[in-house]
Amino acid sequence: MKTRTMLGGLSTALVIAACTSVTLAAGKLNIVTTLPDLKSIADAVGGERVETFAIATGYQNPHFVDPKPSYVLRLSKADIFVTVGLDLETGWVPPLLNSARNARIIMGGEGYTDASANVPLLQVPSNVTRAEGDIHVYGNPHYWLDPANGKIIAQNIYQTLVRLDREGEAYYGENLRRFNEKVDRKLEEWTAAMGPLKGSRIIAYHNEWPYFEQRFGLQIVDFLEPKPGIPPTPSQLAKVITEMKRDRITVIITSPYFTTDSAELVARNVGGKVVTLATSVGAEEHLRTYFDLFDYNVMMMTEALK
């Protein structure tokens, strides 16, 4: 009797579920991205034909985002999922996708988009060991911090959009062309502004700037973290202070989600300054697009190194 009651309850629940279909945004593709940078690019390419949502905020450490059930709900309704990939989100994306009950957006699904595809990667390790800290086996994953890679990300998103929405191909293609043109135009502007700083030696808190460094010809000579993901140690800080004094380095760049105590300690000891750059769109309230991100970072660097 009890068994019948429980099975009856379950059947009723299933019938209710069958009758309550999930409503997608009317006529629009529903895109969920891991980072706001990907959202910004998806907005640019998808335009009016998409609705977008980014899981992480721009001032949140993207390695450590809580896989909240509310994100599962978002993903369960998504047509497209865009990820940075390269294991950047390995601590939180797998449990979300595994629970999302959405075959379209899991790896191999038609809506799964690895934004890193075809990005020329830096710092691909030849030897993989956790003795080196939080290294990424496929290469440094912070590739969106080179604006030229933004075009590759846009291309990857474009391909997924066209695959799912053939009718919008011309529209997406035009948006992609405009986005790429703007990147090229802004890149000239940013490169010109950063030109005088080429070869400038700086210190970084965490190893997340190699793409930015390479694009604008900076030279990051050391990090406050002794190894990626390992908090600064007194010996590492002493080593950095010595290097900065010896080589007359005055700038330490850090990210919004790291406390600045250790960076400021070093800066005080060498008479230098700490510059908190934006690692993602939304790191500061006024940074609303992918272009704002680089406008801000270029402005901060030129101010700091002039």
């Binding site: 579920a17 949140q60 909240k68 599962v72 009950r101 020329p120 990667l121 993989v128 075009k151 990857n156």
Partner: protein
């Protein structure tokens, strides 16, 4: 203790298990060698792509090629749990022991499902025997319609908030007395099927309904046994999750179960849980706070007319003081299934240090007031350390 269920396993089984472990590790080594080769090929490809992408305004990158593992080998991880303890009573008050090696193998099976196997190697403190147990072996769907997800195999059922967790993921060194008294030191396992449903609701909040059916795992626990007739174990749980703000969440859960007990009658249980979590978005690795409370009610039928109702519960808080330091406190009260007038009351303090996400060092001090025996105090030092690729845990 947790190891008591391993007594039935002998040394012969152990040898087979370690052979299996060696084979798994060999496969992993081979996979690493493949990966090195692939890295070289990848570097060459990157150089080629750099040439294509670097100049010019209208570069069209070639066809997308996802950067994922080139191997079909599953994710393999090993997590060790070493402990040293001091108890205020007993002839052997100081213990130093390797509590458990948990070995997980997990992978996607095909576009429709993923599988997970979890082996536990541990020493029984009473007999000193090393044993192995298959704790989890599941096949979970990835693409059922109507927001459904099904799991079959052996797993930890979704009854109470803490039972589905594996010990290394729980904040404290031991599970609450409620779990220990009503089930087992590591909670309850079952073999059967589980189906969960994301319940659509007009308020667009996360609501998940889980229904599970099967039998208690191979070893009986304090409340339930596999049984000798056709009566099965039924488990249900409803989880409600709310984002209070971007930085705070509230989870409310309720569940129930019904299954055969040792006397051939039925045990009915119900549970309620509430969890509040806070974590700042900006400095999300430096501070956090969790408050979790739950209770369960047990009705054990001993005879046709004799029903014993008992209950248990706990409440804990945990605060992250710094990036790698956590402190916590827990209050426990728990009676026993089918026994009236006996209870444990315990107070626990915790200090936890996590050098990285792959290593945890914890010091726990616990005082237990037992209504049926003398009070006792215990200090436990635990080191948990993991290698390999271990799947991230759910929130």
């Amino acid at each position: 203790m947790a190891c008591s269920k391993r007594r039935a396993f002998g040394v012969g089984v152990c040898k087979c298990s370690f052979r299996f472990l060696i084979i798994l590790l060999s496969v992993r080594t081979f996979a690493d060698a493949q990966q090195d080769t692939t890295s070289e090929a990848d570097s060459a490809r990157i150089k080629e792509l750099e040439r294509q992408v670097e100049p010019g305004p209208n570069v069209q990158p070639p066809q997308s090629v996802p950067r994922t593992s080139p191997s079909l080998n599953p994710d393999i991880s090993a997590i060790g749990d070493f402990r040293s303890s001091y108890a205020s009573e007993g002839s052997r008050r100081i213990e130093v022991y390797f509590n458990e090696l948990e070995m997980q193998v997990a992978s996607v099976v095909d576009p429709y499902a993923r599988a997970e196997f979890l082996f536990s190697f541990g020493k029984d403190l009473d007999t000193g025997e090393l044993g192995i147990e298959l704790e989890v072996a599941t096949l979970t769907s990835l693409s059922l319609p109507y927001q459904l997800q099904a799991t079959i195999g052996k797993f930890k059922p979704q009854f109470t908030k803490v039972n589905p967790l594996h010990p290394h993921y729980f904040s404290f060194v031991d599970f609450p007395a409620m779990v220990n008294n009503f089930f087992d030191g590591e909670g309850m396992f079952m073999e059967g099927a589980s189906i969960s449903w994301l319940v659509p609701n007009p308020f667009e909040y996360f609501q998940e309904l889980v229904f599970e059916i099967g039998r208690v795992g191979s070893e009986p626990n304090a409340s339930l046994v596999q049984g000798i007739d056709n009566r099965l174990l039924y488990v249900g749980h409803l989880k409600n999750f709310f984002d209070l703000t971007d930085e705070a969440t509230l989870e409310l859960g309720m569940g129930g179960l019904s299954g055969p007990n040792q006397l051939g009658f039925s045990t009915l249980m119900g549970g309620l849980d509430i969890t509040y979590k806070w974590k700042p978005l900006r400095f999300n690795t430096y501070s956090s706070f969790t408050w979790q409370t739950e209770g369960l009610l047990s009705r054990v039928r001993l005879l046709d007319t004799d029903v014993v109702q008992t209950w248990g519960g706990y409440s804990f808080v945990e605060y992250q003081v710094e990036k790698r330091w956590f402190i916590g406190g827990r209050c426990d009260y728990s009676e026993f299934p089918g026994i009236e007038g006996a209870h444990d009351r315990a107070g626990t303090l915790l200090l936890r240090f996590q050098p990285t996400e792959f290593q945890i060092l914890a010091l726990q001090v616990q005082y237990t007031d037992r209504s049926y025996d003398s009070d006792f105090a215990q200090v436990i030092l635990r080191a948990v350390f993991g290698i390999g690729k271990h799947g991230a845990h759910t929130y």
